[in-house]
């Protein structure tokens, strides 16, 4: 009896499953006095709910059937997993193309005549009789001619 008590203490002191299983297999399984302290299969059955206590399965099946139908309906309309990945990949590609185009491929806009900025006509300063004058620049349509009109400031 003392041995049983000692083993019982050892069982709870070291809660390692392997150790506890070792004690169970080496002692509890064979010791008659310890066997009396654990419930038998029949005793365990007395407190467990059993199959015969439950009602018929028709109602249960109907609920499952309804839920299955609902799940299948949802699955029909739900996105396939690969479709989500495809959409994400397409979006990623689109964003990459837009970034590359914006930062690397886009050149500064050219003027309406199609000339480069260095070739563009430009007047920085205009003087008439050694005094600053107003300048008016005209470019007739369908012509490469540029007319500069200078006017004295009065």
């Amino acid at each position: 009896m003392l041995k049983c008590k000692l083993i019982n203490v050892l069982f709870y002191i070291f809660p390692l499953k392997i150790w506890q299983d070792f004690l169970f297999r080496s002692h509890f399984e064979h010791c008659l006095s310890c066997q009396q302290k654990i419930a038998s299969r029949e005793e365990a059955k007395t407190i467990l709910a059993e199959e015969s206590q439950t009602e018929n399965s028709d109602r249960f099946w109907l609920t499952i059937k309804t839920k299955l139908a609902q799940t299948e309906k949802k699955a029909k309309f739900a996105f396939r997993p690969w479709l989500k990945w495809a959409a994400a990949a397409a979006l990623g590609t689109g964003v990459t193309i837009a970034i590359v185009w914006l930062f690397f491929l886009q050149t500064p806009a050219e003027n309406s005549s199609g000339k480069s900025p260095t070739q563009r006509f430009k007047i920085n300063y205009l003087k008439v009789e050694n005094k600053p004058a107003q300048a008016f620049i005209y470019k007739p349509q369908d012509s490469s001619m540029i007319i500069v009109w200078a006017e004295k400031n009065i």
């Binding site: 506890q20 299983d21 654990i38 419930a39 407190i47 839920k67 799940t71």
Partner: protein, 191 residues
């Protein structure tokens, strides 16, 4: 009488054959599987959860999960063990949800201002959530499952371990602790 006969016939039908038929598109064959195992699954869920409403919900969820993953079933495995392992996981999920709900109500309880307002809810929730069986209440979910599988289904420790997703020695320890607690509780009840 008719029901008994149909049950006998049902028990003889090969599960794997039924699964193959289901996979071939004969969805009504799934009904046979449900009818064959619903009683056992409900009994197990009641024993683990201690509450019939929750047990029914959990069983429905488990069967729906089984149906949606039928294509993944390993035909080398025993269908009943596979079903029980899914059911066990669903039971644990349910218990976790329940614990969260109880914690939530406990938090509310602590807040004195809202105590009166929620007092009725706390009582009604706890009465329906707590396990009905006084003795089983003393066991952990793992111990309850191990005990059910051992006592009612005659599972070995390695089979119990497969359902609980643990090793056979660990399953044996769970079962041993369960049996010990039950014996003590039964003796206390009798005394």
């Amino acid at each position: 009488m008719g029901r008994n006969n149909s049950r006998k016939v049902n028990s003889m039908v090969d599960d794997k054959q039924l699964i193959r038929s289901c996979l071939q598109g004969e969805k009504e064959e799934f009904r046979k599987l449900v009818e064959k195992y619903w009683g056992k699954t409900i009994a197990m869920a009641i024993n683990v959860l201690g509450n019939r409403e929750d047990a029914e919900d959990v069983c429905q969820e488990a069967f729906l999960q089984v149906y949606s993953h039928l294509a993944e079933f390993d035909f080398k495995m025993n269908f009943q063990k596979w079903l029980y392992s899914i059911l066990y996981k669903r039971c644990l999920d349910n218990l976790r949800k329940r614990r969260r709900l109880i914690n939530f109500f406990n938090k509310l309880k602590k807040e004195k201002k809202s105590l009166l307002r929620f007092k009725v809810n706390v009582n009604s929730a706890s009465s329906s959530l707590f396990l009905t069986h006084r003795i089983l209440k003393k066991l952990s979910p793992k111990e309850r499952t191990a005990l059910f599988l051992w006592a009612r289904e005659g599972f070995t420790s390695s089979e119990i371990g497969a359902v609980l997703k643990c090793s056979a020695p660990t399953a044996r320890v769970h079962l041993f602790k369960a049996r010990k607690k039950i014996k003590a509780a039964l003796e206390r009840e009798n005394a």
